[in-house]
């Protein structure tokens, strides 16, 4: 269960999220969607404990985040680290296998196998011995994703993992995520593409600084809700109306 109560959060004195209340049972594949500036990343950062909310509480697995941090994994923005750092791709992914009580200088054989598995899953295995500085932006993103996956955490948090990734790799990553979730783990992911959102997730959180709706996708992904969230953003809505017309089976007609 991921439970958010009366959450107000933002940066400095400026609020980016107002009175957010929802709870979603886990395991689940949850998408956070909404217009730009709608507070998607802010919600993710609050759940991660990266920013301290003004008011309210967040509980994951029935506990405050501070107590379950080791059960979470996340993919940071790629520009949050120095890529000139002297380290190889494999070493970065192995970091995902770090446990505070795994003393000793080296990672175990099974840690290495897991790291190789996920490196392969994101299509970066052939780069495992490369220095990270030699990678392109999209490749760095995938290495970070492999590292987060290698943690095999109960809840994986992602902020637009497909941004800056080419279409082919994007599909591959989505397949990896689907598979990851099917093994009884949960994913919470900020996503901006409504077209893929409609088929990818089983739960949605729709934000527009306030909570528009949260819950099972069939309850949230309605034309009414989308209009509330995206307002007069015609381009997105017309695209969606087109989509709604095409696959009525996936979209419920009633809000």
């Amino acid at each position: 269960m991921i439970e958010v109560k009366n959450l107000n959060a933002g940066y400095g004195k400026r609020s980016a999220l107002w009175n957010i209340d929802f709870s979603i049972p886990l395991p689940a594949f949850i998408g956070i969607i909404g217009p730009n500036g709608g507070g998607k990343s802010t919600l993710l950062k609050s759940i991660l404990g990266e920013i301290t909310p003004f008011t309210g509480s967040i509980q994951v697995f029935g506990k405050p985040i501070g107590e379950v941090r080791e059960r979470l994994a996340y993919v940071p923005q790629i520009n949050s680290v120095d890529w000139n750092f002297p380290i190889r791709v494999m070493d970065v992914v192995l970091m995902g296998r770090f446990r505070p009580h795994s003393w000793g200088p080296f990672y175990s054989k099974s840690d290495r196998e897991k790291a190789e598995f996920y490196l392969n899953a994101v299509g970066m295995f052939e780069f495992s011995k490369r220095q990270v500085g030699e990678l392109s932006g999209g490749q760095r993103q995938r290495v970070f994703l492999a590292r987060a996956l290698a943690r095999e955490a109960d809840l994986l948090l992602l902020d637009e993992p497909l941004a800056g990734v080419d279409a082919g790799s994007g599909e591959r990553i989505l397949a990896v995520l689907s598979n990851y979730q099917k093994q009884g783990r949960s994913i919470l992911m900020v996503h901006h593409d409504l077209l893929t959102a409609s088929t990818l997730f089983d739960h949605l959180i729709l934000l527009q600084t306030r909570l528009v709706a949260a819950g099972p996708i069939k309850d949230v992904f309605t034309l009414n809700n989308l209009q509330t969230a995206y307002g007069t953003d015609v381009s997105i809505l017309s695209e969606m109306i087109h989509k709604l017309g095409q696959t009525p089976a996936k979209i419920s007609d009633h809000p």
Partner: protein, 403 residues
């Protein structure tokens, strides 16, 4: 024959260099180089105070005060940075000078008080000759402990230095770890400033890692280069300072380290300044040669080079041109092929710019002048296919077929 005195001095320098370069790796990788510099100055009042109180040098009190005062300084830097939003380098500068001034004040009082100084006046510049056997034992113990810690905690070290936020999320006790690393650095600096001096200890903390990082992005090689270069410089400096009077060992060590590093900065195959310059020269030469070949290719072109310039010399040497009956040169059969290759790239690119990007016919030439040198053969092939293998460019000049 190495005298006993010299043996002690060199051993001291070697241990100090080893200890500093090893400790410096996490400091450098965590981008705390400036804090390392601050630390080496900030522990000064602590060391003076310890001598003053205990009346002897290098007691356990020296190390305790060094670590305490050093940690206090780093804590102050962090607080100033967080409370006032003064940037960290600004806060570091303020605290560094404050602590150092307090140290100087203590020092002045200590000198007048008549208490034996025990070499504490060398904390500024360092003097290996004042080394006591007890200093050496302390350095040796720290070296052994440091090596074990470094080896055992390598997983922690790379994880935390690369991505401290992720480390925290993985359950690495970031604050405790940071405090411990700072305390350890202060301890090492307290032990080494009496040999190398405050300024030079800080330099020996950072320079070896910077050299290692410049030469290799492979973790193991980086460590090896850092430690070996520091140790080599220290041993050489020990020998020189012992045989030449009035030579500061610390200053000499750092200068030798720079001299050791200097050839690499120049001659490193990929990153060396000189090698980069040579590569640029070569590239410029290739462009010039390709342009000269094009001139020979075009029979209408009357502005043929006649002087024996470097480009002509290179082309002659590579048998791309040959002397003709008019006392000038003409393309050899091999040269014709090479010239056609360049002209083909030029005209294909012009066609692309004009047909696909709709750039007017009279403005495509200049861009093609650049691209003809840059397109590789694979890209050229694809470009030709993309354009349906055109026979002529926008100016109706024929595009030579690929051979």
């Amino acid at each position: 024959m190495v005298s006993e005195q010299l043996f002690w001095i060199i051993s001291g320098c070697l241990l100090a260099a080893y200890l500093l370069s090893l400790t410096g790796i996490p400091v450098y990788l965590r981008r705390e180089s400036l804090a390392g510099d601050a630390l080496s100055h900030a522990i000064f009042p602590g060391v003076v105070l310890a001598v003053w109180i205990s009346g002897e040098n290098n007691s356990w009190l020296t190390y305790l005060f060094g670590v305490l005062v050093g940690s206090l300084a780093l804590f102050l830097i962090q607080s100033i940075h967080q409370k006032t939003l003064i940037p960290k380098d600004g806060a570091t500068g303020i605290v560094l000078i404050l602590f150092f001034s307090v140290g100087l004040l203590f020092m002045g009082r200590l000198q007048r008080s008549g208490v034996p100084l025990w070499g504490v006046q060398h904390v500024l510049l360092g003097k290996a000759a004042t080394l006591l056997p007890s200093d050496l034992i302390a350095l040796a113990i720290l070296s052994v402990v440091g090596s074990i810690l470094f080896f055992y905690f390598q997983k922690w070290l790379w994880l935390e230095a690369f991505d401290s936020k992720f480390a925290k999320h993985s359950g690495l006790p970031k604050n405790t770890y940071g405090l411990f690393l700072n305390a350890w650095t202060a301890l090492v600096l307290t032990a080494t400033i009496q040999i190398l001096g405050a300024v030079l200890s800080a330099a020996m903390l950072i320079t070896p890692s910077a050299l290692g990082h410049f030469l290799s992005h492979n973790p193991k090689k980086l460590i090896l280069i850092s430690v070996l270069s520091a140790c080599t410089a220290a041993v050489l400096a020990g020998f020189i300072s012992a045989s030449v009077p009035a030579m500061s060992t610390g200053a000499l060590t750092v200068i030798l380290l720079f001299l050791l590093a200097f050839p690499f900065f120049l001659f490193h195959p990929k990153k060396g300044i000189l090698m980069k310059w040579i590569a640029r020269k070569k590239e410029a030469g290739r462009w010039k040669d390709e342009n000269t070949l094009k001139q020979f290719y075009n029979p209408a072109n009357v502005h043929l080079e006649t002087g024996l310039n470097p480009s002509i010399k290179r082309l002659l040497k590579n048998r791309l041109i040959q002397p003709n009956n008019n006392g000038s040169w003409e393309l050899s059969p091999k040269g014709v092929l090479e010239a056609e290759r360049i002209v083909r790239k030029h005209r294909l690119w012009e066609t692309f710019l004009h047909n696909r990007l709709l750039i007017p016919q009279d403005s495509v030439h200049e861009n093609a002048e650049l691209m003809e040198h840059l397109l590789d053969d694979d890209a050229e092939e694809r470009l030709s296919v993309e354009l349906n293998n055109p026979g002529a460019d926008p100016h109706q000049s024929p595009i030579p077929p690929k051979k």
